[in-house]
Amino acid sequence: MSKSENIRIPVSQQALIVEKPIDITAIGGTVTIQINEKKVSVPFGTTILDACKENQIHIPTLCHHPDLCIAGVCRICVVEVEGLRTLQTSCSFPVTSPIKIHTSTEKVRKARRHIIDLLLSEHYGECYSCFRNENCELQSLAKEYGVDGYSFGHILEPKYKVDKSSAAVIRDMNKCILCKRCVRTCIDLQEVGVLEAIKRGHDTHVGTFLDKPLADVICINCGQCINRCPTAALRANDPSDEIWNAIDDPKKHVVIQTAPSPRAAIGEEFGIEPGHSFTGELNTALRRIGFDKVFDTNFTADLTIMEEGTELIRRLKKVVVEKDSSVKLPQFTSCSPGWIKFIEHFYPEYLDYLSSAKSPQQMFGAVIKTFYAKESKIDPADIITVALMPCAAKKFECNRPEMNASGFKDVDYGLTTREMAKMIREAGIHLPEMPKSNFDEPFGNASGAGLIFGATGGVMEAALRTVYELVTGREVPFENLRIEPCRGFEGIKQAYIKLDNCVESYNFLEGVELKFIVAHGTANAKKVMEMLQRGELRDVHFVEIMACPGGCLGGGGQPIPTSEEIRRKRAQAIYEEEEGLPVRKSHENVHIKYIYENFLTDGPCGELSHKLLHTHYTKRGKYIS
């Protein structure tokens, strides 16, 4: 008689007897496990989910996201492990012994169906009136597991008020399934710390500090939570109805500027694989929708380089020649509105380090309502400027009270890639079928330097191409202008470029090693700021920071889903498109030369550009009263 028969122990309390690995060196090596009768070898410590993925066995997931840490809260990925009494979440179960796994037994299927059914019972609303219809992970799971009724009932009244306080992000907790992806995004990925699970049990909801409206807390509007939400609980503040009204109004002259990143990603909304640019097609589609002019934000990206580059050289001169200790170096870029709000909240004492140049979006708004209005003889009061951006924070930025240098609201509406795709579909257009066309004059097609603003490191690369050539009279010493140290998805990239044989007017920079740092994601920005606080950045001159992982192409307004692989493909599309452009340096853009000759006649950082193209920042702090 064996021991287990001898003692009467309830099944639930019997010790788990797992076969020991025959070869103890398996630790650190591989383990052979059995998934659905199939023997496979996986590295020690691999999760069951990853092991299955590698062997083409599909396991549904909901709270799991490749960018985020493991949570194991939704339990949709449960599998049966032989010898274990309960079902195990495959996303959080590391393989350490030769276990036998069953991924599709009756028990597993039933459990999954019940889980989805229970989630649906608390999920307010109907799919057909939801903006995430057909792009919802809960919906597709319900379909996958044949959940076609509400066996546990369905709530008919909303439980929470929709938080519409923020200019950028709208939260509807009635649609929330508590997967906590937004919490992990906010706390772990971005380290902003706005969202967390509040209360307990049935009352649990994702909320802010003291359950305040989003506009009153330290949200930086990056919208990364939107990109990772599996349902419709989070969305960007959609101005498309106002834009349609403006288009339908014959008195209004509606112009749109399109940023570099949406082009590389909008195809995904029309079923195209990530990594294809639709610049020309998008231009045609926008004209067919009814926009009077389609401009390229890259034009003001080039303008940003001229302004920010000049500002950098001036700061360098003050430090190197005049030994002025009040000048702050390194200079931080100011293109990313998420990063701006982040520094205003978390490091308000370091605002002097930011470049005073506005972001390309706001520069364009100011230029359109002054220069363009004058050139084309249109009353700026009749112009509506729309900005197609990959970004949720741009919606907040264009509503900042100080952004009215032209005498009007510089940019009327910020539109995300997703909302633009919706407008295009609404107009009955299938984007990939469109013929190609160019951007409108007087700004025309911009330089490649402006285009690469869309990827992390792009601003730095564009700035180096111009600054280096301005100072030394030569092209940057990189093959085909590819400044490789700026590229790639490492969190923080550091490098330097030596300025030698300078032209006469920049003699004072002879021999200076121009050191720069590129960081993306506010978690990395925080690390850079901590380095600055510790005084480790004394010899660094220029820092580029983008609030979103991967830069703008991973922005909070981009198509859902997102992952590092998708972001890499978008970056590749941007860099490929850039190499085919005739002009690849901001200062060689003929339209830039034109605007400095005819409008901003006192040159970069001159009086007029200071009025129109530069801004100031607000010390917000993080204390919430």
């Binding site: 706005v194 967390e196 509040i198 209360k199 909320g207 919430i624």
Partner: protein, 157 residues
């Protein structure tokens, strides 16, 4: 809150963080200590704790909102918690409840004007065989009847 009070509170929290440690696992101890002394954890205290422990204020709030014994709103000097679970309910909780409410002139979830007593419900205290049961601060009273409950309430200061 006055500036002086704020400074005192900051100093108090700083001392506690030093005593209990600034790791995440010390958070509950600190919150309990603040709750005990100030009868609630104010917005300011939450943000100070977050600052000194290098975590986000929303995480502190999340923990406070999870536990019934921690509160963000000021409570009375004594907290009376009456068990609302089924065993106590069948043993005559309702009569005790009515008597207590009448005696103090407040309903559950409220605090008396003199800040002496806050009335609350609680889930099972584990005194199902001795119900109805009531928890006053950290002491359990069992086998209650209305008269006895009122007498106990009148004794606390």
């Amino acid at each position: 809150m006055l500036v002086v009070e704020k400074n005192n509170l900051s100093y108090e929290i700083e001392r506690m963080v030093k005593e209990y440690g600034s790791d995440r696992q010390s958070l509950l101890q600190i919150l309990q200590a603040i709750q005990k002394k100030y009868k609630h954890i104010s917005d300011f205290a939450q943000q100070e704790i977050a600052r000194l422990m290098n975590i986000h204020p929303v995480e502190v709030y999340s923990v406070i909102s999870f536990y019934s014994f921690l509160s963000t709103e000021p409570k009375g000097r004594n907290i009376v918690r009456l068990c609302k679970t089924i065993a106590c309910d069948m043993a005559g909780k309702d009569a005790v409840e009515t008597a207590v409410k009448r005696e103090l002139g407040i309903s559950f979830g409220e605090t008396t004007n003199d800040q002496r007593i806050s009335l609350e419900y609680t889930n099972c205290l584990g005194m199902c065989d001795e119900g109805p049961a009531m928890l006053i601060n950290e002491k359990v009273y069992t086998h209650l009847d209305p008269e006895m409950a009122v007498n106990i309430l009148n004794e606390i200061k």
